[in-house]
Amino acid sequence: MKHEGASFETTEMAALYALGALSQHEARIFEDHLSTCRQCRAEVESFDATVSVLALADEQEPPPRVRDN
């Protein structure tokens, strides 16, 4: 998956990866690629941050009994 610049395809892979929507096989291949491609890593990081922020819509205080465990 050699490329220069964020392409349509790599952005797509990064988005699917961050959502956990790749098959295990595809995810492994993409992870191999990530280990050598800074640009795709940056894409994944920004999409990871995006999905983490989504959780703000669902924030809930857990009951104290969980903390006490």
């Binding site: 929507a21 703000l56 819509a57 809930q60 857990p62």
Partner: protein, 198 residues
């Protein structure tokens, strides 16, 4: 470390979280408690959204921090931010539980769950939460229903792109395109929150 209402991770908080995870890896239980206090609201919210059952969500929450305790030494900042690492564990455990079917069938609706607020949230924090929630909601509103559907099926139901295509009776290429366009829109709309604007 920031107060709990700052529990999502812009860069300076990433550093605090990274330091805490390092201390947890060294066996420091109080660091785990601090990490829990700063992150558990987000983690619990995500789990609850996925499993839709409070008692199951509590069990999964406990599992998540047990896993954080055990695997803290494996955390690698080069592979992602600390909060994203914890959220990935949470999502993965919650989806495992969802698939195993070991949850109460009497699901509360998401709307009802969203209306519950934690007893210990003070009014100032509640205002921040409500503002954040509004921003995320308006970001989600920028998506077309089709884009939102594929993103939610992937993230909250744990379906792969091919499973989503099958479920919706749509070509795989369509599902991928909807996902890509939707995620780009969300990334743009949520950028102020990601950069710690709140």
């Amino acid at each position: 470390l920031g107060s709990p209402q700052d529990s999502l991770a812009p860069q300076s908080r990433d550093q605090d979280f990274t330091a805490l995870i390092q201390q947890v890896a060294d066996g420091d239980q109080s660091a785990l408690t601090t990490l829990y206090d700063a992150s558990s609201r987000l983690v619990f919210g995500l789990i609850l959204r996925i499993v839709s059952d409070r008692s199951t969500a509590e069990e999964v929450l406990l599992d998540v921090y047990t896993q954080v305790w055990r695997q803290a030494a494996n955390f690698d900042l080069r592979r992602g931010a600390p909060m994203a690492w914890i959220m990935t564990i949470a999502r993965s455990r919650a989806i495992d539980r969802l698939r195993s079917g070991k949850h109460d069938q009497n699901k509360e609706s998401i709307e009802n769950l969203s209306n519950l607020t934690g007893a210990s949230v003070n009014p100032e924090e509640a205002t921040v939460h409500s503002e954040r929630r509004r921003l995320v909601q308006s970001a989600l509103d920028t998506l077309s229903p089709e884009q939102r559907e594929v993103i939610e099926l992937a993230y909250y139901s744990g379906l792969s792109h091919s499973e989503i295509a099958l479920k919706l009776g749509q070509p795989l290429g369509t599902v991928k395109t909807r996902t890509r366009l939707g995620m780009i829109k969300l990334r743009e709309a949520l950028r102020p929150l990601m950069e710690g604007g709140l």
